[in-house]
Amino acid sequence: MAKKQYAFYPGCSSQSGASAANFVPSLELVNEKLGIQFNEIPDWNCCGASIGYGEGGELPRLVLNARNLALAEQHLPGQDMVSGCPACWLATRETAERLHEFDSLLAETNEALKEAGLNLKGTVKARHMVEVLIEDVGFDAMKAPVVKPLDTLKIAGYVGCQTNRPFGIAGESFENPQYLDKIIETIGAEPATKYEQKVTCCGGALAFSEPEKAQKQIRDIVESAYDQGADLIVTPCQLCQANVEIYQSEINKKHGTKLNLPVVYYSQLMTVAYGGSAKQAGLGGQLIRAEKLEKIAG
């Protein structure tokens, strides 16, 4: 069967040696098993992320994202653009929609894009990896390659903000989306269905600028997962993963707590369930080792 082709936008944090360096490697086996082919957009640039607005304003931010869309349109025609990072996806989708809605913004954007030798028609759709899994692959097909069901694990599905709002996944609610729990179930684990911090904000970029305020959020997110008896937290977001994992030790230092709960990506769980090794799943990239998952991986 021919593989489904996508224009892939990895994003800054997913590059080698960056804070989510273990994410993209963990997609390899998943994509192979599910018949997905990622074609990296040549010379893609940063999306501006969630704090780009402070200095960047509106048009410079839109133009950054328009450049990636234009590159995808030119080099990988007919392919949907896919990002695994919610901030990249949100910024790109927002840009695509605004430029589609307002002709004057598209004209201004193209005036700026000309400086980089590019032009955008506006034909590319910006999608999140989770949408590809749910809408293009489907839960049944996601289940088919499972050889090691994760049936000893209870997992808190932490959706966070930007995969969920403002766009979210079609058909899901903003307050209590079900898809991550369904993915957990699909690979044989038990979802912590009463996990109440599912869509709580981790503080985002303010984890750097307002550490106390963000760490209060993170503490709630982790403690609620403990309350539900979860063995680990899974998330579809690079910044959620980093914030919720990295700052547990800081919270412990300041508050005498003993938080030590692993935080992984859905793709890492899927890789292990599909028979991949701990290395293939990028589990070496955890600051808090996911020992139970490593053990299943063997």
Partner: protein, 206 residues
């Protein structure tokens, strides 16, 4: 910076709503607010806002220009978009808050030393330089933004986390001498500069 502010005050006199509508991202939606307060109650950092979004919308209509633009409230936005999805009038609240923060920053009215304002600028300058974010240089710039002594202290405090990330392959010390970058850096810089020029012209900031 203050020139821009003086020019804005002269131009809009006491009509701050008109100023916001013409110059702030999605500012034309401000008058749609019906003061229900759902945004104020939905913000994860709600208690830390001196003025909630609900209050800011009313203050804009009441012409409280200085109180709004000098406030650090908008800089509390984590971009979680909870307010947007819950607003019964579908106001793009997050975007308006970002727009107000950016406008206050451009006029030089945003609070000096406001940490999110500072890292937002560091982040943008970092990404525009090479087209991609250099996380190591960004982290160091953040630590050292208040001087060398404070920087060493900050870096020492986060040493454990930093070493953990290096060991896990998620922070590369070699990024300091190069790192990931786009090929067409000059095209990106020219494109971003052009976009700013166009937007400034449209907003009357040129």
């Amino acid at each position: 910076m203050s020139d821009l502010n003086t020019q804005a005050v002269t131009r809009y006199k006491n009509n701050f709503l008109k100023e916001v509508e013409e110059r702030v991202e999605d500012g034309h939606m401000v008058k749609m607010c019906m003061q229900c307060g759902v945004c104020a109650g939905s913000c994860p950092l709600g208690p830390h806002w001196e003025h909630s979004p609900q209050k800011i919308f009313m203050m804009i209509r009441a012409g409280k220009r200085e109180d709004v633009l000098r406030s650090d409230s908008m800089w509390m936005c984590t971009s979680c978009y909870n307010c947007i999805v819950r607003c019964p009038r579908k106001l793009p609240i997050t975007h308006i808050m970002h727009g107000l923060a950016n406008y206050a920053h451009r006029l030089g009215l945003a609070p000096k030393g406001q940490p999110t304002r500072e890292i937002a600028k560091l982040f943008w300058d970092n990404l525009v330089k090479t087209g991609r974010v250099n996380e190591l240089k960004f982290s160091l710039a953040m630590y050292f933004k208040d001087g060398f002594g404070q920087g060493v202290k900050n870096a020492m405090a986060m040493q454990g986390v930093g070493l953990g990330l290096v060991k896990a392959g998620r922070l590369n010390p070699m990024e300091i001498i190069g790192g990931h970058k786009c090929k067409d850096q000059s095209g990106i810089q020219k494109m971003v500069a052009k976009a700013r020029e166009i937007e400034d012209r449209r907003r009357g900031l040129a």
